[in-house]
Amino acid sequence: MTIIRPTQTLINKTTHLMRDGLNAHAFGEFGMPEALGDARWTDELILSTWYMAETGEVPDNLNFKTGKSDGGFDRLEFNYLEESEWLGHSEEIDTSLPLNRRGDSKNEIEIDIPWYGGGMSYGSVSVNVMMSRALNAKRWNTFMSTGEGGYPNELLQIKDNVITQVATGYFGVEERTIKASPIVEFKYAQGAKPGLGGHLLAAKAGEEVAKMRGSVPFVSLFSPFPFHSTYSVEDHSKHLDWIETVNPQALLAVKVSTPHDVDMVAVGSFYAGAHIIHLDGSYGGTGAAPEIAKKNIAMPIELAIPKVHKFLQKEGVRDKVTLIASGGVRTADDIAKVIALGADGCVLGTTDLVGMGCTRCSNCEGGPSRRGCPWGLTTTDVELQELVDQDWGSKRLNNLYTAMQWRLRDILRKLGLSSVQDLRGRTDLLKYISKELGE
């Protein structure tokens, strides 16, 4: 099969036009694109994310805080102090988050912001996107996860900020990458498709992707559900023991979705040895998932966090484990609400992609072109993946994270808190905006 690579002139022209366009829209030069946005990611949320990625600042004239989904994060607000009681806006307001609370001999890791990048596999996204995220993670002393698709060699230069994911297909899982990672993440399930496993459609499983996954090109690759070696919490413990044997220093993260007994699952994971319990709610992103799964199976993250937080408290182990939440966390305001509801921090995925130009058109799985994302994000197409270069991508994410950290500190100071860790479980600082008041 002959692969025709695009000329540099073509790439330069296209990226120039795209980036100019993103910039112009972020600054509102052409108004609000009418077909942009949905209830969860409104047009204003997308454009404000572009604005933050361009400037490193929050916009004045766009709603960068909430969507219009009529529930969850979009009906929660903070009950701020009187302005006279606000703290000054300062870099002294602590946004760091320790990840190892077990008090064992493993890595003592503290990240500078209470979030890290969620798993997006090589194949579902290109190396350029992975590297953009990883470079930004290094800059922010946080992490990004490989997802389940292997560990491209380029990532090794940033290995201290990369989480290796072990998922049910074991794609690309090697001892060398487990040894390289400060944190190893077991993915039991994904919020957008809980209980269904993963599926990389054939069109996106090109030669490099297939090689990385130990497969042949252009064949659909399934990550089965669940781990076929896990029938019980004891089997789960055995899994974690395996990683501990290969890399005794690594922190162990366990990613699960949000069934009705998610609280029991979390406690089971803690007793099996997890340092990080990562809950992935049902409104989260995905490279490809059955539409029926996205909304209907398992619960939104807003509803799972308090359930797990309270149960861990009741069990007396809440302070020995880091609770991370994801699945529809879009903004700094969402991050603060996640923490106020009881998590320690969160994982971002879609937000990173929107920061790099995603319009949420939902064609990540290949779309009618079968080439993947037309913006060069969720694709390994030889031409399209060149539309995102690592320097440009990581700079946009750096700007975005700068604005988000600023906003997080802004929320904290208005609540009179000098550390994000003091916000955990403070539902007393939240208020619910009922429909009557909200409209």
């Binding site: 073509l10 022209k13 076929h228 409104y283 490809a288 996205k294 939902s362 064609n363």
Partner: protein, 501 residues
């Protein structure tokens, strides 16, 4: 076990079979049985549109702006023709003979790359004709999904996450559970290949009794089995036609389910088959005798005398259609008391009763009423009204139905169009495609059944449930958003209970 082996050996010697020969013969018989096993399968095939839905998007290109842009490109990039002729669309919207001067909006997926790159002269807009399809309950989103499912027969798969509202009314306020480790089967890729979707129609005894000789006492279960928990219901409003009746007949036969058809129509068209369920007006109950092959006939409404007449007139089971209006509980109880083994419950097409109670609550009430009476398994409950999405099927079954009835999805699967409100069954107005090709329409409905069955398997697989019969009434494997909100947001200032009870 030891006895068995000993007896096998004795028998083998007596018949001059060695143990090895016996093993080989056993393996041969086993293989024959396995080879003869016919796993249920719905034969989906992609079919073309005959009356496509409106495009999702409109693409507006300013011709002068485009001409200026091309001129500039030629000056800047000549002779790099790959650059000059490159298009900002990977889907071919601008790849027609004259490029952007005649865009092809039917190919647009709304990625907006064109309008971001060229905001001066390209605009992408939602198509108001698409947005106007359906009504407040059966939305353009439902119709587009049904159209795609009927076209391809596949489970719709997309990238990115959920795009809609948080929870919501009706079925939107119900979530299904999943299990992190429990599977229905470890066989196959996901363990869902062996999940059963067959449903028994009729009556099972609540227990079996045997005499001293081990012979069964009393009657044997009076039931038959269909392969999917979906039956085709009477076409609502003005949609009934001979052509549609024939399509529903053929489809229900192919996928091994049932088609409820007006008895007069069925009689006139000579439709008398095991898959046909003639629906009789109470005054025509005695005409049940005309359908010799039917396994089930239904009476439109409860009438004790009509039920008796129908029962005497046919050997088929006699089911009763009961609408969720005032006093339905009493009518259902009376019908079951009189021996009805199938109750077909009907809400309006928005899934509501006249008081506005949603069908999931109504189904649950019917189910629990029969449980309280200690005879749930003696009756099959079919439920209809408000079932317009694949996720509604498992949710209706969780709410207590054995199977659900399809009404409006049939119209949209075969690319019919509706006018006005779709709430009241008898007032639905619509039109079927002008040239309704029988085979085409059958394949569309077969595809819809295949897609909805596969999506049901996704839900069952995620829950770790091995057959759909075990899903019935499993309220504990569902979650109600309002209840979850109450638990999660209790104590938060301003929270006074979820919006949708």
């Amino acid at each position: 076990m030891l006895d068995t082996i000993t007896s096998v050996e004795r028998e083998s010697r007596a018949n001059l079979l060695t143990l090895e020969e016996f093993g080989a013969e056993s393996a041969r018989i086993g293989r024959e049985i396995a080879d003869g096993y016919d796993r249920y399968h719905i034969d989906i095939n992609e079919v073309d549109d005959i009356d496509p839905l409106p495009h999702r998007f409109l693409v507006k290109v300013g011709k002068i702006g485009l001409a200026k842009f091309i001129a500039k490109e030629v000056l800047m990039y000549f002779p790099h023709f790959d650059v000059i002729f490159s298009r900002p669309c990977t889907y071919g919207v601008f790849s027609g003979p004259v490029g952007g001067f005649a865009p092809r909006p039917k190919l647009c997926v709304g990625c907006l790359r064109c309008t971001v790159q060229h905001p001066e002269f390209v605009k992408v807009l939602p198509n108001p004709k698409m947005l106007a399809l359906g009504d407040s309950y059966t939305t353009h989103g439902h119709i587009a999904a049904i159209d795609e499912e009927a076209k391809r027969g596949m489970v719709p798969v997309r990238g990115q996450g959920y795009r809609g509202r948080f929870g919501g009314p009706g079925f939107d306020g119900m979530l299904t559970d999943m299990s992190e480790i429990v599977r229905p089967s470890r066989d196959g890729i996901h363990g869902r290949e062996l999940i059963g979707t067959s449903v028994d129609i009729g009556s099972k005894p609540m227990h079996l009794s045997f005499d001293q000789n081990g012979s069964l006492l009393g009657s044997v279960p009076d039931m038959f089995t269909i392969q999917i928990p979906l039956v085709f219901d009477l076409p609502p409003g003005d949609l009934g036609s001979d052509a549609l009746a024939k399509v529903i007949d053929s489809t229900s036969s192919l996928v091994d389910t049932l088609a409820c058809l007006d008895a007069k129509t069925a009689s006139r068209l000579g439709m008398d088959a095991p898959n046909i369920v003639p629906v009789l007006a109470v005054e025509d109950a005695a005409r049940a005798s005309e359908f010799h092959s039917a396994r089930l006939v239904e009476l439109e409404g409860w009438d004790a005398q009509a039920f008796e007449e129908a029962t005497e007139a046919t050997d088929a089971m006699v089911g009763v259609r009961i609408h969720f209006d005032e006093g339905w509980q009493g009518r259902m109880t009376n019908a079951v008391d009189s021996g009805a083994k199938v109750i077909h419950l009907l809400a309006d097409l928005h899934g509501r009763d006249p008081n506005g109670t949603f069908v999931s609550g109504l189904f649950k009430e019917a189910h629990t009423l029969l449980i309280d009476q200690g005879r749930r398994d003696t009756v099959t409950l079919l439920g209809g009204g408000g079932i317009v999405g694949a996720d509604h099927v498992p949710k209706a079954i969780i709410s207590g139905m054995d199977a659900v009835a399809l009404d409006l999805p049939v119209l949209f699967a075969i690319q019919g169009r509706s006018r006005g409100s779709l709430k009241h069954r008898d007032k639905v107005r619509g039109k079927l495609p002008k040239k309704l090709d029988h085979d085409w329409a059958v394949q569309r409905l077969v595809n819809l059944c295949g897609s909805w069955r596969d999506q049901l398997l996704e839900i069952l697989g995620a829950m770790g449930i091995r057959e759909v019969r075990r899903l019935r009434g499993e309220f504990g494997r569902s979650m109600v958003v309002k209840h979850l909100e109450d638990e999660a947001f209790e104590g938060i200032l301003g929270y006074h209970g979820g919006e949708f009870a």
